[in-house]
Amino acid sequence: MDMRDFFAMGGYAFYVWTSYGLAFVVLAFNIVQPLLHKRRVLKRIARQIRRTRRTA
């Protein structure tokens, strides 16, 4: 099964590869979003600590 046949997917290339592409996007989203959220939370907490440290 050489590469060209592989990507042709017996004529259903569009359907198969969009499903797999979408799967990759959905899985990636579920990894990236928590990372961004965590960084935002950490930054907010750090700022809060600096604020309390300055006022304390």
Binding site: M1, F6, Y15, V16, T18, I31, I45
Partner: protein, 268 residues
């Protein structure tokens, strides 16, 4: 021994550290499983005699459909535990699982319609299973919307847990009503949307992918949980200590970068 382990796991700081250590290993195993499943599904498995290569969408559609139901049940059970025994961590597991479940349900829906297009020529078929999947997506969106709408996060978590419990009781009722409704309008002529009778070489990748998706769910929920714990415990000492130390390490790195920047070169 199990109770002691479970009890210590319920305390957020301990859980945060332990999950931090497990995540890399889980990620490696999950990646291995999914790659093996993909290889098996896309390359190894022979084309289906009837559907040709379009059947390979099964390796995404079926595992994510299984996951959507599995995550809802886990969400409801975790919500129930959180409500009855007031375990904050269980409540957070329920709340963190909702978006992941919703994305798997969405994935199952779209891949289902992509799979249906070559077979029936239309993007959407009011087939019993797809319709149940669509309603399950609404149930997920309901839980997410309710959690987002209430400002006090503890109250929001408990309200979302109740909705998840009510939802999980309704899922079998909705599923069988829709199946019964489907037999009314469609009639048995439509080929069963079920998995085609599956040859062993096709089944292995399917199970690999299912295992990979379950592990992926575990990783995703652990990651969301860690940032949720940080957010909810932001006043506690261990978070300030943790963030404080990370903050200082961040500062020392900035100071090191500034000093080795050549003052003559004009910065971007």
């Amino acid at each position: 021994m199990f109770m002691r382990f479970f009890h210590r796991m319920a305390s957020p700081p301990y859980f945060y550290v332990i999950s931090g250590r497990w995540l890399p290993w889980l990620a490696v195993i999950c990646l291995a499983l999914i790659l093996a499943g993909l290889y098996g599904g896309l390359v190894e498995a022979p084309a289906d005699y009837q559907q040709g290569d379009s059947f390979r969408i099964i390796y995404i559609h079926v595992p994510s459909a299984w996951m959507s139901l599995f995550i809802y049940v886990v969400m409801a059970v975790a919500g129930g535990i959180g409500l009855i025994w007031h375990i904050k961590l269980a409540e957070m597991v329920a709340v963190s699982s909702a978006p992941i479940g919703a994305s798997f349900t969405f994935l199952a829906l779209v891949t289902g319609s992509l799979w249906g297009k070559p077979m029936w020529g239309t993007w959407w078929v009011w087939d019993g299973r797809l319709t149940s999947e669509l309603i399950l997506l609404f149930l997920y969106l309901g839980v997410i919307a309710l959690y987002g709408a209430i400002d006090d996060k503890r109250r929001a978590g408990r309200a979302a847990a109740i909705l998840a419990l009510v939802g999980v009781v309704n899922i079998p009722i909705i599923h069988y009503s829709v199946e019964w409704w489907n037999t009314l309008h469609q009639g048995p002529t439509v080929t069963k949307f079920d998995k085609p009778s599956i040859h062993i070489s096709m089944l292995i990748p399917l199970l690999l992918m299912a295992g990979g998706f379950k592990l992926f769910y575990l990783i995703a929920v652990l990651m969301r949980l860690r940032s949720e714990i940080l957010e909810r415990e932001r006043n506690s000492k261990w978070v300030t200590a943790l963030v404080g130390s990370e903050d200082r390490r961040q500062k020392t790195e900035d100071r090191v970068q500034e000093s080795d920047v050549d003052p003559r070169r004009v910065g971007p």
